[in-house]
Each structure stands twice: as structure tokens, then as C-alpha cells.
């Protein structure tokens, strides 16, 4: 018993030290910094209040719009069978896991000033300026948020809806309720926990969104996240950034607690079996199914299609380009990534950003597995100790990447020259996901299997090799892929921590997008396409390894 609790403490030693140094200590410094007497000046507080107001405003609007698309979609998926249903469902989930820069680049390729639609309109009507102003509007932010988060509403609500006992609605029908009143008095109240939980989660993501706001909203829209970045890196006002970060943490903590309360109700309400939905029968049902299928398909596919197509199409001249342009297909933007132009942004070939990203991602995988394995194996058999430590481990999930990075800057300012800070921050972001991927697999191995193996003469190593590893290998692969794709696409923390001469792919895309010229734009598209391909491959690996019934969000 004694030795057992010793070994448990040993298991926790590395992960807790890591979190203590890189998460809790920086947070302590942020608090001390942000809540000091000098920081709490009226004009600071006023700015913070305005930023908080706009952050909430755009998050509420985004959430409402997401519900507007998501609720009918959830109904569509839960209540009807139609061709291409699983494909459409998969399409709606992909955006959720794509890096923000890819989504921003995708919308830019579709609706941006050099995007397909604007170029087509300019071409058709011989306009000299793009007619649609998309980038830099609140609409762009809202649209991207809806694009990102609709899948949450679809998953949570359609799950609840398809588990709803159809007899409840039938009983209401027999008691004299027409379709409208069945929906109002029975279906909606029963779906309420799932709708609330989904809204809360969507709101949380919209509230802490960073990349979308920065890349699509432009400088006029400052949410807490963006303002923290601006104050910390551009205005070098660290105390104000710390104050904002404190506000941010307070809000996300409150929302997270609310969400976990709400999602606890979800599990109670679930009914035994999911019924097989029928095909649409009446004309109005058919119209609804067809219209929503088309809408969802267009909405989820067009931005992701526009991006790779735009990356291989030359549609406009670069600035000051003398030679006549060959419109049409080109691999030039990709070739350009390997060239070190004298006027280049980095004085290194842009493809070096990809090499940096790769190096960071591999480091993140190794670090997060090294820390995640002991933590997950301790959590797999929870005792009193683990009940306390489990939420502590998940805390970084609630903190936004930008505030994590701010903590690093405030706590270890001098060490920032080290490129090591980036993979450390990525590990902090990836660790909760890695633990959540490993833990169910570890918990699923019954002790009896190990005991059976050892009674048949297997040494402890042979037991691990023959019993644990075959089950754990799949979970390890998906945990590693999680860490890899998270690191590859991470934008917020990297933007604050990366040294200018060590850019990552997302940083390079951001810089290319913010520079003028067709060539820069094309390279942004090419890089974003590469990142999208890598991430999609990662998502596919994770989905394949997913244990049946293991974790939703």
C-alpha cells in the first residue's frame, strides 16, 4: 500500500512540475501584475470594460447564428435518412479541427479582396476594385465562427434528439397536441439541456477566439484575446495585458463551470436506443432536407475548396510585374516557397517555416507523451488523489493560448530568446487532449488480463508488451496525432512567443496574408493548403483510432 502511493506520487511528479512551472507560476505572475494598484486605473478599467463588452457581443451574436444553422441541421441529421448523410456529417466536423489560419485563408480565398467571388465580379463587370467588402467586417468574424462551431450544435443536439423516445411525442399527439405544440411543449423542453450545453460551449469558443478575429476582423475589432496581444506585443503595456488576461480567465472559468454543470444533465436524460430515422416523405419535408443539405454542403465545402484551388491559380498580376501574366493553372506559388528572395520577409526560404513547424510539432509530441503517459495511467485508476488532480490537469484547456503565452512572457521574459518556448507552450495546449486520448484506453485494460498473463509465466515487461501495448498503441498513435496537429496549427501562443527568424507555418501564412501583392497572397494560399492537407490527414488518423464511444468534446 505504501509503495503504491509512492509510485503514484512519482507518476504525478513530472506532469505536475511541468504544469506548476509553466502554467500556475505564470498565472500567479499575471495575477500579481494585473491586479496591482497601478494597473487598476480608471482608463485601464474603462478600456477593459469596452473590450469585454465587444467580446461578449460578438460571441453572443455568433452563438445565436450558430444555433440558427445548427438546430435545423441537428434536426436534419437526427430525424431523416438521406443519401450522403455520413459524408455531410463528416464535412461539418472537419472545420472544428482545422487551424484558424487555414479557415481564415479559406474564407479569404472565397470572399477576400483577391478571392474567387470578388475576382469573378470584377472580371464580369470590369470593376477596378473588389465589390464585396468581407475581410475586416463583423460579418466575416461571425461567418467564420459559425463555420467553426456549427458541428458542436449538430453533434450535441442531434445526439439528444435521436435518443429521444419517439413515444413521448406520440403520446403528446394522442393527447391533442398538434406538431407545433408537440415541439414547443415536449421536444424543445427535453432538448433544452443539450441546446444550452451546446450554446455554452460555442459561446466559450467564440469568446476566446483569436485567430479568426485577428485575420478576418482586422485592427478595428478588438476582443479580449486580440487586445491582450496588441497590448503585450505592440504597445508593450504588459500590466494592462495582464489585467485583460485576468478578466479572460475569470470569464472562461465561469463559463466552463456552467458548461460542465449543463453537460452533467445531458447524461441523465439519454434514453435507451436511437431509432432509425425514416426518409423524408411529404413535399415540405423533402424541400427542407434538400435545401438544408445544399446549404450545409455549400457552406462547409466552398471555403475549403476555394483555398487549394486558389493556391494553384494565377488570376491577377503581382505588383510591378512587367512580363505578361499567364492566367490559369500554376504551381508557381509552391515553387516560390523554396526560393530565398532578397526582399523576402525572413531572409530564409519560406519553406523553412514548415521545417520549424515540423521540429516544434515533433518536440511537442515527445514532450506531451512523456508527460501524458504517467498522468493518464494515474488517472486510469482514480483514487482520492486523482479526484483533485484531474481538474488541475484540464485547467490549461480553459485558458486561452494567448494568455498562456502572456504568462510565459511575464514570468520568463529573459528566456524568450530561446526557441524552446514555442514547443513548451504547444505541449501545455496539447497535454489535456493527449491525456484524454490515453486515459480511456488505459482504463479499458482490466487487471485480470495482466494477472492472467503473469500467472502463465510472463515477466512484467512481457506482460506490458503482450497485454498493454497492443491496446495502448492505437491510443498512443491518436494522442501523438492530436499533439502533432495541435502544434502544427497553433497560432495564438506562437504569435506571441515565436522569434521573427523562427516562424512557423501559421505565422508565415499570417504574415503573407497581411502583405500586399499577388505573389504573397499566392504563397499564403499555398502554405495554408499544405497545412490543411497535413491537418486533415491528422484528423483522419485520429478518427480511425477512436475507440467506439470514447469522448465527444
Amino acid at each position: 500500500m505504501k509503495s503504491n502511493s509512492y509510485s503514484r506520487v512519482l507518476l504525478w511528479l513530472a506532469p505536475l512540475t511541468f504544469l506548476g512551472v509553466l502554467f500556475f507560476y505564470p498565472w500567479f505572475r499575471i495575477l500579481a501584475f494585473g491586479l496591482s494598484f497601478e494597473t487598476l486605473k480608471p482608463d485601464n478599467l474603462q478600456l477593459a470594460f469596452h473590450v469585454l463588452l465587444f467580446t461578449s457581443y460578438q460571441a453572443i451574436l455568433s452563438t445565436l447564428l450558430t444555433l440558427l444553422i445548427g438546430l435545423p441541421s441537428a434536426y436534419l441529421f437526427a430525424r431523416y435518412e438521406f443519401r450522403g448523410k455520413s459524408l455531410l456529417r463528416a464535412l461539418t466536423t472537419v472545420p472544428f479541427m482545422l487551424p484558424t489560419v487555414v479557415v481564415a485563408a479559406g474564407f479569404n480565398a472565397l470572399l477576400g479582396p483577391r478571392g474567387w467571388i470578388n475576382l469573378a465580379l470584377m472580371h464580369l463587370f470590369l470593376l477596378s476594385n473588389p465589390p464585396i467588402q468581407f475581410v475586416g467586417t463583423l460579418g466575416a468574424i461571425l461567418l467564420a465562427h459559425v463555420f467553426y462551431n456549427t458541428t458542436i450544435v449538430i453533434r450535441l443536439v442531434s445526439n439528444a434528439l435521436s435518443r429521444l423516445d419517439p413515444k413521448l411525442e406520440q403520446a403528446a399527439r394522442a393527447l391533442g397536441a398538434d406538431h407545433r405544440r408537440v415541439g414547443w411543449h415536449v421536444t424543445l423542453p427535453l432538448l433544452r439541456p443539450s441546446i444550452l450545453a451546446a450554446s455554452m460551449l460555442v459561446f466559450l469558443f467564440d469568446f476566446t477566439s483569436f485567430g479568426v478575429i485577428l485575420l478576418l476582423g482586422g485592427p478595428t475589432f478588438a476582443t479580449l484575446e486580440v487586445e491582450i496581444y496588441v497590448q503585450a506585443l505592440q504597445l508593450l503595456n504588459l500590466p494592462l495585458a495582464a489585467l485583460l488576461a485576468f478578466l479572460q480567465l475569470l470569464c472562461t472559468l465561469a463559463f466552463s463551470i456552467l458548461y460542465s454543470r449543463l453537460s452533467a444533465q445531458l447524461t441523465i436524460q439519454s434514453a435507451p436506443r436511437a431509432a432509425h430515422p425514416p426518409k423524408a416523405k411529404t413535399a415540405s419535408e423533402k424541400v427542407f432536407v434538400l435545401a438544408f443539405c445544399i446549404l450545409l454542403f455549400v457552406f462547409f465545402v466552398l471555403p475549403m475548396l476555394a483555398l487549394p484551388l486558389r493556391s494553384v491559380s494565377r488570376l491577377d498580376a503581382d505588383r510591378g510585374q512587367q512580363t505578361p501574366i499567364h492566367y490559369g493553372f500554376t504551381a508557381g506559388y509552391y515553387a516560390e516557397l523554396f526560393i530565398n528572395r532578397s526582399n523576402s520577409l525572413f531572409y530564409v526560404p519560406p519553406i523553412n517555416a514548415a521545417l520549424n513547424s515540423l521540429g516544434y510539432a515533433i518536440t511537442t509530441v515527445i514532450l506531451s507523451l512523456l508527460l501524458g503517459f504517467p498522468a493518464a495511467s494515474a488517472l486510469a485508476k482514480p483514487r482520492a488523489l486523482e479526484k483533485i488532480l484531474d481538474p488541475i490537469l484540464i485547467l490549461p484547456l480553459g485558458a486561452s493560448a494567448v494568455t498562456l503565452a502572456l504568462g510565459f512572457i511575464i514570468a520568463f521574459g529573459r528566456l524568450l530568446i530561446s526557441p524552446w518556448m514555442v514547443p513548451l507552450a504547444h505541449t501545455l495546449v496539447a497535454l489535456p487532449f493527449v491525456v484524454r486520448a490515453l486515459q480511456p484506453a488505459m482504463a479499458s485494460i482490466p487487471d485480470r488480463l495482466r494477472q492472467a498473463a503473469s500467472t502463465m509465466g510472463a515477466s512484467p515487461f512481457r506482460v506490458w508488451q503482450t497485454v498493454d501495448w497492443p491496446i495502448l498503441s492505437r491510443a498512443t498513435l491518436s494522442a501523438a496525432t492530436f499533439a502533432f496537429t495541435i502544434s502544427l496549427g497553433e497560432f495564438g501562443a506562437t504569435l506571441l512567443l515565436a522569434r521573427p527568424d523562427y516562424p512557423t507555418i501559421p505565422i508565415a501564412i499570417y504574415r503573407f496574408l497581411s502583405l500586399p501583392g499577388a505573389l504573397n497572397y499566392g504563397q499564403a494560399m499555398a502554405m495554408a493548403t499544405l497545412l490543411m492537407a497535413l491537418t486533415t490527414a491528422g484528423i483522419m488518423i485520429i478518427e480511425k483510432q477512436r475507440l467506439p464511444g470514447a469522448g465527444e468534446f
Binding site: 423516445d165 406520440q170 394522442a174 391533442g176 397536441a177 398538434d178 405544440r181 411543449h185 427535453l190 433544452r192
Partner: protein, 332 residues
């Protein structure tokens, strides 16, 4: 009065119900009795308006219900798994149908109290339905169906999820309530005891068809097919062949004399029912080796070589030859 006329229904290209016709008169309770998969629940759901027949009509007082949606039919429906609204308390569940009819709140309160009294759940108004026992939940479901004073009550195996003792209690209460309220009812079940307790008339459903109907005692004493005899567990069904015009039938257990209302040709094959209780008199006797003896409360169940079984008072020895007088009925 409910009339079901020639209703057909296919499910996934398989005929589920074929040419079903019957009538439910004022304040009459009928039972649809059949094994699972016989289509009885589907029939009930069609009467409720939740599904539609492929052919045939369902009439109420001579008016076709095809264009009447379920919420305008005024038929109460009680499910096997209660289907109580988990987000509403007992009062709101029971009041649901009254609320849908926009009744005043005083009227609702009075009526809910009345029906809760009827199902012996007085004072349960503010309980959560999820905290109730199975029997209590089914009482709430019954009260909910009764509250809006339906023109017809539909029961879909309402007691199937309850244990035996509780089932008997509720069955008797239900019988009392149906007698008291005089609401006509259709009761679907696979349990003959429930059917015989409740119904004046039983309709036996097999492979989507009504194979026999009548008062419980008539069905019991005059089964019209091998399937009915076996489904009701009436005894041993055996095959035989008519050997002469004097009602003599040859079977693998011997030659018996069987009086029968129908006329049978010599050489015709038919089925006979041998009830498991020994006949007091008669010329038909079976004598065979006893293969098994099981004690069952007040008698012994003996099984003969060949599979026939009987209930006897005195315990024979296994392996011994045993003779018994039997009564044979023709199943057609």
C-alpha cells in the same frame, strides 16, 4: 363506435396486417391478443393515427378518420413503457391533454384531482415522474390518458413491464375503471390472462390476420385451429386421418372416435386437440410409457413417450406404462 374495415399494411415489403375488420361498440372493451410481431401494436397505432393503413378504412361513428390527425381524434393512448414526460411533474403530465384543449386552470385542477383519485394517486401532484415506481408511473400514464375524457382508450401492452403481483392488482383496477367510466377500449397484449380478465371479446391475431374472435369462454372451449390451441396452451395438437364414416380417426397414438360438427370425407387429414386433463368417461384411451413426471402444485405433469402431456392426481413411476381416458376435439 369504432369500425375497422379491411385494413392492410405492409412493412418493408412484408405483409404485416391483412384485411383486418372488427367493430368496437359503445363502452365495450376488446382485446387484441397475439404473439409479438403479429402486427397488433401497428394496428393500434393506426387507430391512434400515428401510422396509416395501405388499404382499408378506420371509421368513428361512420366517419372516415383518414384525414383526422392524431391530435384531433380524442383517443387516449397508454404505452408499455409509460412515455411520461420526464420534464413535467405528475400534475402537468396528467393535465397535458386538458392544456392542449385550452381548458381553464380551475377545470384542469378539478379534473386532474378527479382522475388521480380514480387511479389511487391522490396527493401525487407535485412528485417528479422519474422518482415514481413502475406501477405508479403506469397509473400516471393511465390518469393522463383518462383526463381529457377520450372517446376511446388504446392500451399497448400497458402492464408488460411490471412484475406479476403488481400486474394482477393493476389489471383488476383497470377493469374497475373501464367499467366505471364506460369508455370503450382496445387492449393489446400477448398475455391471455390479461385479455380474458378485461375483455368481453377477444380477437386473436396471427401473421397479420384475425384468426378467431369471440367471448373468452368460447375461444377457450372452441379453438378453431392448431395455432390457436397451441398459442393458448390448451393441450396436445396431433395429426390424424379419417378412416371411416363413423368418426373414426387414425393417429400415431391409436385410432380414436371423434365427434365433430363439420362433415369430413374418408381419407381426409385433420388436426385433433387432446386436452391435458383426463376424461371421466368415453371410449378414447391412450396407453403409453411415462417418460417424465414433474410435480406442479396440485397435480403431476406427466409426459408420454411421443411427447403428449397430461395432468394427473396420482404420481406414476417413470418408465411405467400408463393408461388415460382422453377427450378429443377436432381442430379442422
Amino acid at each position: 363506435m369504432l369500425e375497422v374495415c379491411g385494413v392492410d399494411k405492409t412493412y418493408e415489403a412484408q405483409p404485416l396486417l391483412q384485411n383486418i375488420s372488427f367493430v368496437v361498440g359503445a363502452s365495450e372493451t376488446i382485446c387484441l391478443l397475439g404473439p409479438s410481431g403479429s402486427g397488433k401494436s401497428t394496428l393500434l397505432r393506426m387507430i391512434a393515427g400515428l401510422e396509416f393503413p395501405d388499404a382499408g378504412r378506420i371509421l368513428w361513428n361512420g366517419m372516415d378518420l383518414a384525414s383526422t390527425p392524431p391530435h384531433l381524434r380524442d383517443f387516449g393512448l397508454v404505452f408499455q413503457d409509460y412515455a411520461l414526460f420526464p420534464h413535467l411533474n405528475v400534475f402537468d403530465n396528467v393535465a397535458f391533454g386538458l392544456k392542449m384543449k385550452d381548458r381553464s386552470s380551475e377545470e384542469m385542477r378539478a379534473r386532474v384531482a378527479e382522475v388521480l383519485d380514480l387511479v389511487s394517486l391522490r396527493g401525487f401532484d407535485h412528485r417528479k415522474v422519474t422518482d415514481l415506481s413502475g406501477g405508479e408511473q403506469q397509473r400516471v400514464a393511465l390518469a393522463r390518458a383518462l383526463a381529457p375524457r377520450p372517446r376511446l382508450l388504446l392500451f399497448d401492452e400497458p402492464l408488460g413491464a411490471l412484475d406479476r403481483a403488481l400486474r394482477e392488482d393493476l389489471l383488476n383496477e383497470l377493469r374497475g375503471i373501464l367499467l366505471q367510466t364506460q369508455i370503450p377500449a382496445i387492449y393489446v397484449t400477448h398475455d391471455q390472462e390479461e385479455a380474458f380478465t378485461l375483455a368481453k371479446r377477444v380477437l386473436l391475431l396471427h401473421d397479420g390476420q384475425i384468426v378467431q374472435q369471440g367471448a373468452p369462454a368460447d375461444v377457450w372451449s372452441k379453438p378453431n385451429s392448431v395455432w390457436v390451441a397451441q398459442f393458448l396452451g390448451l393441450g396436445n395438437a396431433i395429426e390424424g386421418r379419417v378412416v371411416d364414416g363413423k368418426w373414426r380417426v387414425e393417429t400415431r397414438f391409436g385410432v380414436f372416435t371423434v365427434k365433430c360438427a363439420h362433415r369430413h370425407q374418408v381419407g381426409e387429414n385433420l388436426h385433433l386437440l387432446i386436452r391435458p386433463l383426463a376424461a371421466r368417461a368415453g371410449m378414447n384411451q391412450i396407453r403409453a410409457r411415462v417418460m417424465d413426471v414433474v410435480f406442479q402444485q396440485d397435480h403431476f405433469k406427466i409426459t408420454f413417450d411421443g411427447g403428449l402431456y397430461f395432468y394427473v392426481k396420482d404420481e406414476p413411476k417413470i418408465g411405467q406404462k400408463f393408461g388415460i381416458k382422453v377427450k378429443l376435439e377436432c381442430l379442422g
